[in-house]
């Protein structure tokens, strides 16, 4: 048996199929994962993401510390509540994890890191934090519910303390705020509008029930994966890991090169990778034949070389199979993927595949 979130009983009550995810007993799906997927694209769905690791960093030099710790630059965070997506690199420029950083105050930044990488992340952050005299505290007592979809905020608003409701509704994308006992952020992992709501564990089951009663569909990890794939949002451990640079995982946009004199962990090897015009590309694929693309399938580019699918699956919104893949450098817009010994045709497409309920590629 794995760890259980404060919402575990709610999942069982709702008939969830429970699976192990990074040591946690989590809901994979409650019924049809396709219906859960469509609920998020068309109305509203909720995910228990309490297994994710919330880490509060406090201290006088916390901003300096984060400017050194991660590849994106927290100097961009000037307005309170503003969030930043970034990768955290090792000394070789490989990705230890991807995370979101919230700017709470000049002496308090909040990180949300992946569940499966919790221990190594905490060890790494604590080790690096020492010379900066930054205190690192995991907030395991907090639960988190992601409410996502075009109607998510409206349906979830009654769960927010009345004094803070209007301000919460007025949050701009990628901003968060404290709302009484809760922390609410307009962020997510689905490509839809919505909130991620952080709250004391004891408050999670009643919040879940209120959302359920408001018509928000419980959604499992399976739908979360197809939603994030359509939105072309990376999954740690599939699309990138410690052996891959962010530049070969489609995360180049999260690396802040300027100012050039900012020293961050992994910068030097990353500069070398940046200058390497032969580095692998990270692209979106649309399967033109029938079938389903899967992780680790070989991508064959005629006359160029081989690549690999890092996240493949079926897109419920498009009705076709899509994938994210690491492929050789070169100028081409078609390739083939080896599926059970056969080569199927794929087109290279600009991601995201889907955003805010709309298909964004030519099908």
């Amino acid at each position: 048996m794995g760890s259980k979130t404060p919402l575990y009983d709610k999942h069982v009550e709702a008939g969830a199929r429970i699976v192990d995810f990074g040591g946690w007993d989590m809901p994979l799906n409650y019924g049809s994962q396709k219906e859960e997927h469509h609920a998020v694209r068309q109305k509203a769905g909720m995910f228990d993401v309490s297994h994710m690791t919330i880490v509060d960093l406090t201290g006088e030099r916390v901003r300096d510390f984060l400017r050194y710790l991660v590849a994106n630059d927290v100097a961009k965070l000037q307005d309170p509540g503003k969030a930043l997506y970034t990768s955290m690199l090792n000394e070789n420029g490989g990705v230890i994890d991807d995370l979101i950083i919230y700017f709470m105050s000049e002496s308090w930044f909040r990180l949300v890191v992946n569940a499966a990488t919790r221990e190594k992340d905490l060890a790494w952050i604590r080790q690096q934090a020492e010379p900066f005299e930054v205190s690192v505290s995991e907030r395991a007592e907090l639960a988190m519910i992601a409410v996502q979809g075009p109607e998510a905020r409206e349906l979830a608003a009654p769960c927010i303390d009345a004094d803070h409701r209007d301000d919460a509704m007025a949050l701009k994308p990628f901003f968060g705020m404290e709302a009484g006992d809760m922390f609410v952020a307009r962020t997510g992992y689905t490509g839809e509008d919505g909130w991620e709501m952080v709250m004391p564990a004891a408050q999670a089951p009643s919040t879940w029930d209120r959302l359920l009663a408001a018509g928000v569909a419980p959604c499992g990890l399976a739908a979360r994966d197809t939603l994030r794939l359509e939105a072309a949002m990376n999954l740690y451990g599939s699309d990138m890991d410690e052996t891959v640079s962010p530049l070969e995982a489609g995360l180049g946009w999260t690396v802040a090169w300027e100012p050039a004199d900012r020293e961050f962990i992994g910068r030097e090897p990353l500069e070398a990778k940046r200058a390497d015009t032969n580095r692998m590309r990270f692209v979106g694929l649309l399967l033109e034949d029938k079938g389903v693309l899967r992780n680790h399938q070989r991508v064959v580019v005629d006359g160029v070389g081989d690549g690999e699918i890092t996240s493949g699956g079926f897109s419920p919104t498009i009705g076709r199979s899509i994938a994210l893949a690491r492929v050789p450098a070169g100028d081409y817009d078609r390739a083939q993927v080896e599926v059970r010994g056969k080569l199927l045709g794929v087109r290279i497409v600009k991601t995201p595949f889907v955003r805010n309920g709309e298909v964004r590629i030519d099908v």
């Binding site: 994962q33 399976a222 029938k290 389903v292 899967r294 079926f314 419920p316 199979s321 059970r340």
Partner: protein, 131 residues
């Protein structure tokens, strides 16, 4: 869990067989299998006339989640395939023992029923897997 149809034989790979009046054997996956796979999105069918060995790959069913082989529970020749599944693979989810059939085989010899499972034996297997 719904009741198992009593007129079928089953395999430990969670497939079912039905002897048809014309001497062919219809094959599909069980309700337990479709439920474990989740929403089906693609079915790869064999060619009509293709010979299959007992235990050999015969078809592939793919759900949003994963791909899964369908093995031939008996040796035979493919007599028919359920073409409808090309456009509506989800029929396997909604009607696994009926419209969701996958392949009809013309058996190449006598069917060894001892190698297959009765509904009761299959139910026991499911109960064991649940435990």
């Amino acid at each position: 869990m719904s009741e198992l149809p009593g007129d079928l034989l089953y395999t430990k790979e969670h497939e079912w067989l039905r002897r048809e009046d014309d001497g062919t054997v219809s094959i599909g996956v069980t309700d337990h299998a479709q439920s474990a796979l989740g929403d089906l999105v693609y079915v790869e069918l064999p060619e009509i006339g293709q010979d299959v060995e007992e235990g050999g790959d015969m078809a592939v069913v793919e759900s949003v989640k994963a791909a899964s082989d369908v093995y031939a529970p008996i040796a035979g020749t493919v007599a028919a395939v359920n073409e409808e599944l090309a456009d509506t693979p989800e029929t396997i989810n909604s009607d696994p023992y009926g419209e969701g059939w996958i392949v009809k085989l013309q058996p190449s010899g006598d069917i060894d029923e001892g190698a297959l499972m009765t509904p009761d034996a299959y139910q026991e297997l499911l109960d064991e897997e649940e435990a």
